[in-house]
């Protein structure tokens, strides 16, 4: 599904709205895209996006949620492209902030984001009338990263695991009708953003992805750094391509093939 209109968000199943915002590079584009969820008790923002999109995000969130903005935000980790708007958003709207329990020498208050509620891995919480669990992620850069699973939409929000996209696919939702994400788009993203991927064992990653699909009923795979994938089949196919991309990087690094 490709949307070329100028609606403030791209609609996904289960009252999940994709705030598609991407960063153009030489040939491909790089998503840094939060998600907005409508709950019975308010709007929940997953991730805060990049500072280059700050004004645009405030405008689009208010266009969807009204001038009062969001009621809660959940941040997967404290990397700048994920949190750099948190302070500006808090100066704009009043909302509750939920973050990963850090255990590191950084925490949201120290970083100027104000008070927050720390969430533990595998913990389940009600936020704005929706139910969230924070799974252990199998692919992260920052150690304290948590993924976010929304039980209502069966959506898994995946922090840094992602892929690039072509300039024609900025608003594309990858479902059964859309072209699948290519191995090359995943590999190019990984090699830029996750420089440790060359060390990963592809089979361990295949098992890890299967384990998370087994533990959670997932209908929407929602990366911050990529187009969302909708449907069990496309999600499983995406994971298989992700493993292929990891394998290609691993083999190129250690066996001299490409």
């Amino acid at each position: 599904m490709t949307m070329n209109d100028d609606t403030p968000t791209v609609e996904l199943p289960g009252d999940v709205h994709w705030l598609d915002t991407c960063f153009p590079m030489d040939r491909q584009h790089h998503h840094i895209s939060p998600y907005l969820l409508d709950g019975p008790d308010g709007s929940v923002l997953i991730e805060a996006g990049s500072m280059v999109h700050q004004d645009q995000l405030i405008e689009r969130i208010e266009a969807h949620a009204g001038p009062g903005g969001i009621d809660a935000a959940i941040l997967s980790h404290y990397d700048l492209p994920h949190v750099s708007n948190a302070r500006a958003f808090r100066e704009t709207w009043e909302f509750d902030l939920y973050t990963s329990f850090s255990g590191t020498s950084a925490n949201p208050e120290t970083l100027g984001m104000g008070p927050s509620t720390g969430c533990m891995h595998d913990e389940t919480r009600e936020i704005c009338g929706r139910t969230f669990t924070f799974p252990w992620p199998p692919l992260v850069d920052a150690a304290h990263t948590m993924w976010v699973y929304d039980h209502d939409a069966k959506a898994m929000f995946t922090g840094d695991m992602g892929h690039y996209h072509e300039s024609t696919d900025c608003r594309t939702v990858v479902d059964g009708a859309a072209e699948p994400v290519s191995v090359d788009a995943i590999r190019a993203y990984n090699e830029d953003a996750l420089p440790f991927v060359k060390f990963l064992d592809p089979e361990k990653m295949r098992d890890a992805f299967a384990e998370i699909r087994s533990a959670y009923d997932i209908e929407i795979w929602a990366p911050v750094h990529g187009n969302p994938i909708v449907g069990n089949g496309p999600i499983e196919a995406y994971h298989e391509r992700y493993v292929e991309a990891i394998e290609a990087t691993h083999d190129a690094a250690w066996s001299g093939s490409d």
Binding site: Y78, A106, T110, V140, F196
Partner: protein, 247 residues
Amino acid sequence: MSDGLREDPPDWYDPDRLVHVCNNAYLIVGDETLLYDTVSPGAREQLMDGLDEVLGERGLDYIVPSHPEAPHAGNANALLRRYPDATLLSSAYGRGEELYYLDQGRHVEAGETLDLGGYTVEFLRAAFPDTAFHIWMKEHTSNTLFTADWMGAPHVDGECLLFSDELDSPLSPAQILEFQARALRWLQYCDPEPVFETIDDLIETHDPDIVCPAHGTVYREDATGYMERMKTVIEMITTGERLAELK
């Protein structure tokens, strides 16, 4: 600490002493001065006081965040305000530097050297990174390797600012694992052989006398022995259970 450690405490763990994890920056003072890493904003005052004490009226010439996470780059802007003539040097290895405010500095690549007058630093591609824009460094005069998140380890109350060889009990692979498995979560899913090869290559290429991690005590005796022992740490991580969050 995790509940598992409390229930089955290893030799190095003393329930009466708090466990600490370092957040280190390293200052090299030659004719010019360079700060590798900037520590967390939570330690900003301590960092600035320390720099005042060592530098006095001298300026800071170079600021090098090892990578753009808050505990490593979180004081870069504050330092640039305090030392407006300083040059920010950041890793060339990543895309989208604007997203990290890294476009305001100069990018350095592996092999580039900087003569500080009395000390010479060489920038190295980080062998074991987590994020993009990661850079390691070697100082040639002292033969010191600066390894960011690699080779960090916890210590206990009363051991702050000691060297690894001065700790009450020698650093064991199990103690190093407590930090390393949590800091580089990808190690749990790694293929150990390329990691071992990379460790061998680091030892052969650099043979450092001193290893300075950002999150652990400095190794100034048997540094390469500890690098070898990281293979045991990796074996333990890849065959063991995932460690819970520190709390």
